[in-house]
């Protein structure tokens, strides 16, 4: 509940840009995770000054704040799990300056990735991290999550592009972190610490990003395999060759079937496809293509398709990006996609063992169908769970399976999140994997946010299970 006086003060300076309407507080209680919790109020600030005023009020009245971009987080990061205020950045969405000569762009947090790239492309530049959700993800959300995507193998993640941030701290100060220079060796890298902090350390109100020139040319190769292990082996072999393509993506049969159903795309329906994006000059691409074909052939590829046609490449890339939401179309009406163990990162050489291991675990659990895909070239896998969320047994099965899968990831030397972050759904496994880091992060969190108002009850502050505040109509007994 928001205290009456605080609400009155909010309304005084935000007017219509604060809402406590039941429909609104209900909707802002969702993101793309399995969790849901109603907010108490939604605010739509237009400037850092307004953000500061709101934060000061929340800090004074000890009311939680959850910042929100597009609400596409997959592990509950944007769900106001303790209620309170949700702060939407939909109205702070201006590209403030494009400074090509300084290799940087300055934006407000609500700017959407694809919109930013459309603008930068006009100058022959781009902001490389390309999450599958790039059509919706806000830059604020991407920085807060350290999002990345297919091109991370060659270009890195969002954090690698953050030069400077303006941040409203939980205690209400407006702080400026980082620099507008390419190099910066000035002590603690505060901007990089905020990147990936999932809205728990402060609110980002302005972002300076480094930008890159667009590649000259690209070609895409689809290599099809009837043996998942050989497909994963191909990925390791490409990297070890050595070859660093812009992206190396992996999709198993379940994912291929779903995206073919959803979009009618001409992907081969086989046990696994490896999609490789090559870039450079025409000669570079020609040479790399020969190497890729040789490696795929040696590993028993049953079909190899290549395209440099813009329409075909876009169709394939868009289809790959739509794998996650397309999963709902795999067993339409019977099984539904739920975001569990959605993300993990492994040493590249362990990808074959992980993929094999996940499917072995899946076979033990009758209520779950598992799809595996990901940016396998940089060791980042995603798994998608299909279950009937109305069936409590399915949830129990899924919960066990998540535990077994993350045990395997940790055993193989991997980590529980490559890009989708921790939030609620992955927090217990982070504690298992990185207890030392979590303890130190908790100290940092408490130092910066003494009243625990910034996106509380998540990440380092989460020590409960994963099947909490579910958004599905199911009774799991206990607290649910």
């Amino acid at each position: 509940m928001i205290p009456f006086d605080m609400l009155k003060e909010l309304k005084d300076f935000l007017g219509e840009r604060v809402s406590t309407a039941p429909a609104d507080t209900y909707v802002f209680g969702f993101d793309a995770s399995i969790h849901h919790h109603k907010a108490d109020a939604i605010v739509f600030p237009k400037s850092a000054k307004e953000v500061q005023k709101i934060v000061r009020l929340c800090n004074k009245y000890r009311v939680p704040i959850t910042p929100r971009g597009s609400g596409s987080a997959l592990a509950g990061q944007a769900v106001p799990i303790r209620g309170g205020v949700v702060m939407s950045f939909k109205r702070m969405n201006e590209i403030k300056a494009v400074r090509i000569e300084d290799l940087q762009v300055i934006v407000e947090p609500g700017v959407i990735n694809d919109q930013l790239n459309a603008e930068l492309n006009k100058y022959g530049f781009f902001f490389p991290p390309s999450p599958g959700s790039g059509n919706v993800a806000t830059i604020g959300g991407m920085v807060a999550m350290n999002a990345s995507g297919m091109r991370a193998l060659k270009y890195g993640a969002t954090r690698d592009y953050v030069m400077a941030l303006e941040v409203v701290l939980p205690t209400g100060e407006i702080a400026h972190f980082g620099t507008h220079t390419i190099k910066d060796a000035s002590s603690y890298q505060m901007a990089k610490l905020i990147a990936g902090s999932e809205g728990t350390l402060g609110i980002i109100t302005e972002i300076t990003l480094r930008i890159s020139p667009l590649p000259k040319d690209t070609s895409i190769v689809l290599a099809a395999f009837e043996d998942t292990k050989m497909a994963s082996q191909t990925i390791s072999d490409i990297i070890a060759y050595p070859l660093i393509p812009a992206s190396v993506e992996f999709m198993d049969r379940v994912c291929l079937q779903s995206v073919i159903n959803a979009r009618g795309v001409d992907f081969p329906l086989v046990d696994a496809v490896v999609m490789i994006e090559l870039e450079g000059t025409a000669d570079d691409i020609k040479n790399d293509l020969k190497k890729v074909e040789k490696i795929a052939g040696k590993n028993g590829a049953v079909d190899i398709r290549v395209s440099s046609d813009l329409r075909k490449k876009t169709e394939w890339l868009e289809a790959r990006k739509a794998v996650l939401p397309s999963m709902s179309q795999y067993a339409k009406g019977k099984m539904f996609m739920v975001s569990l163990a959605d993300d993990m990162s492994l040493p590249i050489s362990k990808i074959p063992d992980a993929v094999y291991g996940f499917h072995k675990i899946e076979k033990k659990h009758e209520h779950v169908v598992l799809g595996v895909y990901g940016h396998a070239g940089d060791g980042n896998l995603h798994t998608i769970f299909l279950i009937d969320p109305r069936n409590p047994e399915a949830w129990k099965d899924a919960e066990k399976m998540v535990g077994e899968m993350y045990d395997l990831v940790i055993d193989l030397g991997g980590t529980v999140s490559g890009e989708h972050g921790i939030g609620i759904t992955k927090a217990p496994f982070m504690w298992k994997e990185k207890k030392d880091s979590m303890e130190v992060m908790k100290r940092i969190k408490r130092a910066l946010d003494p009243n625990d108002i910034m996106n509380p009850g998540k990440n380092v502050e989460w020590d409960d299970g994963i099947l909490v505040d579910l958004r599905y109509p199911v009774n799991l007994g206990g607290d649910e």
Partner: protein
């Protein structure tokens, strides 16, 4: 009401892809008024976590049923159907007076406007024939939004082509009833009257000027009854098939652009026919708007939004008008034309063609 849509609602992965393409969301800038938000609200009504109240009705009615979300959704959720089903839940208690009056007029008088006494066909001056294979269904919006002009032009074009056709003693197709969430029996009553009239005259093919009427006959009526004995078509498709030749027209037009009506484009995929017709006018001064065909922006008048929130309709129209610039907007939907005409120059494609014909 919503039980039927549980699977649809659970199929939503909450990816938010539909939120960035929704023209309403892009004006109001709140997730609560996005397609995903509306599906979630419907879901909350279904589970009982959300009680129907004013805020719920507001978010459900702030939608033009433009279908942009349906064509964006990678999970194949039939979002517009879910929204329409949820509107049925809120309609009895929470529909506003304007919506109720509108629905009342349809049920009592057969059409959407209040006091008019004459049957719709009378405005065209062309009385129904006893028998004909082809019929022209004018639709009450053609009358109300274009001052009958679109219907008169359509009838003139059909006469010019020497078609053996009839008008109909029609009643409102029921689209506004579906839009506001009125009870099924009211919609069925309209349907039965119209289908009775069509069959009585031995009609095998019905032509429409209004994409919403076309939608009702071709997509909604078949959910209630078998209509496989009758073919439905928008008049632009029909005219395109007949082929109007450049020599039929005077050359040159004022600067024009074409606005794709949401239902005609996104539901029926009719994009080429109107463009072919316009291009058959020699030296037409024609230019596409930035958003055209599949990505066309909604004019703001669909889904009977103007009954609920006219200011939102206006804001959406403004965005589209800015794209058209100084050009006259040509369209194939009376609702779009009526909405644009309040703020800029707009004309139906039937009127444009009829005006430009050498006759």
């Amino acid at each position: 009401m919503l039980e039927e849509y549980v699977s649809e609602m659970m199929q939503c992965t909450s990816c938010s892809f539909c939120t960035v393409t929704c023209p309403v969301m892009n004006v109001l800038l709140t997730d609560a008024s996005s397609p995903r938000g509306r599906v979630q609200i419907a879901y909350g009504l279904y589970t009982g976590e959300l009680e129907p109240d004013k805020s719920v009705a507001k978010r459900l009615y702030e939608c033009t049923t433009c279908g942009m979300c349906d064509s964006t959704c990678p999970s194949g959720v039939h979002i517009v159907d879910v929204i329409k089903a949820a509107r049925k839940v809120v309609y009895p208690q929470l529909a506003v007076e304007k919506q109720k009056n509108f629905a009342g007029n349809i049920s009592e008088k057969g059409h959407t406007y209040g006091e008019e006494k004459e049957p719709i066909w009378a405005f065209t001056g062309f009385a129904p024939k006893e028998k004909a294979e082809v019929a022209y269904f004018m639709g009450c919006k053609v009358s109300a939004e274009t001052g009958h002009a679109q219907g008169i032009a359509a009838v003139n074009l059909l006469k010019y082509l020497e078609e053996n056709f009839t008008t109909l003693d029609e009643v409102c197709c029921g689209a506004p009833l579906v839009n506001v969430g009125a009870p099924e029996e009211k919609i069925r009553a309209q349907m039965e009257k119209n289908l009775g009239e069509i069959r009585k005259r031995g009609v095998k093919k019905v032509l429409f000027s209004c994409p919403s009427c076309y939608y009702m006959f071709a997509k909604v009526y078949p959910n209630h009854t078998d209509v496989s004995d009758i073919e439905f078509q928008h008049i632009v498709e029909y005219l395109d098939e007949k082929g109007l030749k450049p020599e039929d027209f005077e050359a040159g037009t004022e600067p024009i652009t074409y606005h794709d009506p949401c239902h005609l484009g996104r539901v029926f995929g009719v994009y080429d026919a109107p463009r072919n017709l316009i291009k058959s006018i020699p030296n037409a001064d024609y230019k596409e708007m930035e958003h055209n065909r599949e990505s066309s922006l909604c004019c703001g008048a669909g889904g009977s939004l103007a009954l609920y929130e006219p200011s939102l309709t206006k804001k959406m129209a403004d965005r589209r008008i800015a794209e058209a610039g100084e050009r006259t907007i040509v369209s194939a939907c009376p609702n779009c034309i009526g909405n644009f005409s309040k703020h800029t120059k707009a004309i139906s494609i039937e009127e444009l063609l009829w005006d430009m014909l050498r006759r």
